[in-house]
């Protein structure tokens, strides 16, 4: 594959971005993409990216597969088209991709506009309130909870979770600590205070309980949350700082 690139590789935000770039560069109609030409170009870019040791994200490869699929479908005569249960009768196999591209392009333009506004705003100044700072002490002085109390409470929740685990449909779910951090912050957005066990009430598996607990520890470390209890071995309360 010969190519006379003057290597001026843009940074593409994703496969759609790269496709838009190719469509513009090739001066083709976005509503009538010459799929073969664009697919070839796309593959060339992918190999170039690999050649330059740029990390090629998985999404780029997925798009490559989609392009190949569309290309192969377009080679089939109309009466031999696989009837995709979702696709409507006789629908152009390119349609879904085109729709996606057009939509993405609009948001990309909107982002451009936002960028311009941001630049304009950087020249405009106004009175700003000083950082309010953290108002730590509320009213009721509860005892701070130590790590062992936490682990103890965690253990109880974990036991409850494994009881729950007997028979159920298996749904693959993945939880990340950062997701759970957001979730905890969300739960405590309106009520400043929640009870420890409440955080785990919805948890459906051990994994989720563990991740939730890790998220809580992280929030405590970041001083976004405090844990308190009114008496020894009492319910632990989580307070948003």
């Amino acid at each position: 594959m010969e190519s006379d690139y003057k290597v001026k590789l843009e940074v593409f935000e994703g496969p759609l971005d790269l496709l838009l770039y190719l469509i513009k560069k090739e001066e083709v109609d976005i509503y009538d993409i010459p799929i073969e030409r664009i697919t070839n170009q796309y593959m060339e870019y992918l190999s170039l990216m690999k050649l330059l040791n740029l990390e090629v994200a998985g999404e780029f490869l997925v798009m490559a597969a989609t392009l190949m699929y569309i290309k192969s479908r377009m080679l089939l005569p109309a009466d031999q088209q696989v009837t995709d249960s979702e696709a409507e009768e006789g629908e152009d196999p390119r349609w879904e991709l085109i729709r996606q591209l057009v939509e993405y392009k609009k948001f990309k333009d909107a982002a451009l506009h936002l960028g311009r506004r941001e630049e304009e705003q950087s020249n405009i100044f106004y009175r700003q309130s000083p950082d309010p700072g953290v108002d730590v002490d509320a009213d009721v002085p509860l005892a701070e909870v130590g790590i062992f109390d936490l682990i103890n409470a965690f253990n109880q929740v974990l036991k409850r979770a494994s009881d729950r685990e007997d028979f159920r449909e298996i749904i693959e779910e993945q939880f990340t600590v950062s997701d759970k951090i957001e979730e905890i912050l969300y739960t405590t957005r309106e009520r400043l205070q929640v009870v420890f066990s409440e955080l785990f009430a919805q948890a459906s598996s051990r994994a989720e309980v563990v991740v939730t607990f890790l998220a809580l520890l992280e929030l405590i470390r970041l001083k976004r949350m405090r844990v308190q209890q009114q008496q020894a071995f009492g319910e632990i309360q989580i307070v948003r700082v």
Binding site: R99, E118, S122, F125
Partner: protein
Amino acid sequence: MTLELKTIMEAVLFAAERPLSPKDIRTLFAEATDEQNPALPESFRHVREAQLVAVLEELKVEYDTQQRSFQLVEIAGGWRVVSRPEFAPWLKRLLDEARPHRLSQPSLETLAIIALRQPISRADIAGIRGVEVDGVIRTLLERDLITITGKSDTPGRPMLYGTTQKFLEHFGLSNLDAMPKAAELRLQAAALKTAEEKVEVQKELIIHEEATQTNPQQS
């Protein structure tokens, strides 16, 4: 000093640390008291919002025609006194250190999507952008430009995101409709029934787009 509606509002806008809506201002008039001279605040007690809006417009024009160094702008549902861009070189020296960095391209794209399609889940944002958005979402949450607005009822109950007041302030937008092509972009593609219908709409949009592009730089 004449204590009339206009000068009082000017003082209020001058001292305010956030954009003030006509409603905010009306509340001030409704609640202000003065022990020495109770009659004066009383005389403004029942001022109407429409009246306040008229005075705001008047002040805005006044600052513009008098070529003051500041202007009155409508931002995030309220009004705020801001400096004119010409004075940026000096004000930047004075204040800029505290300013956060400008947003990256992925952040801007993600924000545009969230702003116009909120409430929206990460998966749906990723669907439009064609790439993962986890890292970007985290940054935007940290900068308080977006917030979690709830949970979806779809399987997995994913979090839904929306833009904040600070988003509007950051970009100097009076509201979400002030974004370009706000109405069209809110159109949910899924709501359009048939493929033909979709094509029609898309073609229309393209024509519209070309028309706006031929216009000399707006904004």
